[in-house]
């Protein structure tokens, strides 16, 4: 995973308008930004929202102060563009502020006295990077992400992928903190259960 970003030299290049550095920025973050826009505006509008966000980001980079990570900064621009797109389309609802249905994905792993009945498998990966080096597992994770309810997906993207503060994420998405906690836990537990299952069986 080559990510020379937020490195002082790279940032200086970006702020000076270096086009090659900007291309590297697009390469590193474009897919993650698309994944953020999709649950909010839908598949067909996501590309347009992210394209407009890149145009805005390109114009605003020279004023970027480096207080936030570039990825967080970019994701805020995407959310603003998504909001404007929805306003133009007269869609009032941003995302559902609803509790997820059904049981916690990890609930059946515990027995009645509160201990693990089916404890986590011992994962082969020993770092975040090595988790994703197995292509099949990386594909399984992406497929699962795509199948999560939009509000869970948007929360996971903003909080865990883009690194925005929890309170800001709740405000942005118009989801109450108590619901956001449950939704985020659901999404993370689903991902955990998937990796766990993959480690045991070699399948999604």
């Amino acid at each position: 995973m080559t990510e020379p970003l937020n490195d002082a030299d790279e940032l200086a290049l970006l702020k000076s308008g270096d086009q090659v550095a900007f291309a590297r920025l697009v390469k590193a973050h474009h897919r993650a930004l698309l994944a953020l826009a999709r649950p909010i505006v839908g598949e067909s509008e996501a590309a347009e929202v992210v394209q407009t966000a890149w145009i805005k980001a390109h114009a605003a980079l020279k004023n970027f102060e480096g207080r936030a990570a570039l990825r967080s900064w970019l994701s805020r621009i995407v959310i603003n563009e998504a909001r404007m797109m929805l306003r133009q389309r007269k869609r009032e609802v941003f995302l559902d502020d609803l509790q997820p249905e059904g049981a916690d994905p990890l609930a059946d792993r515990f027995i009645s006295n509160g201990h693990w009945g089916a404890p986590p498998a011992n994962w082969h990966a020993d770092s975040p990077d090595s988790l994703l080096t197995r292509e099949e597992l990386a594909d399984c994770l992406l497929a699962l992400l795509g199948s999560l309810p939009p509000n869970q997906r948007a929360l996971l993207e903003l909080r865990d992928s883009d690194g925005l503060p929890f309170d800001e994420v709740c405000n942005m998405l118009g989801i109450s903190a108590s619901n956001a906690r449950v939704l985020l836990h659901r999404a993370r537990a689903r991902l955990f259960a998937l990796v766990d299952h993959f480690e045991e069986t070699g399948e999604c």
Binding site: P119, N122, P128, D160, S161, A189
Partner: protein, 75 residues
């Protein structure tokens, strides 16, 4: 006493920096005694560390498309 069943939620709150000192101590005490929960927390950390990279890099075609539109826009 914290039960294993409580650990997934507590572990997330820990990683999100939302636990008080007392809650952190209670979790640490449970983890000291429980290998399964230690493994859970270690692997959750790994998983959440991988999430920012899960989408991978854009292809050269995708990058070109973005840059072309950017170029059209500024001329």
């Amino acid at each position: 006493m914290l039960k294993c069943r409580d650990v997934p939620a507590e572990a997330e709150a820990l990683l999100d920096g939302e636990l008080s000192f007392g809650q952190r101590m209670a979790l640490r005490f449970h983890l000291f005694l429980c290998g399964n929960c230690r493994r859970y927390l270690r692997q959750l950390r790994q998983l959440l560390g991988a999430v920012p990279h899960m989408h991978g890099e854009a292809s050269d075609e995708e990058v070109d498309r973005v840059l072309r539109r950017l170029h059209d826009h500024s001329h």
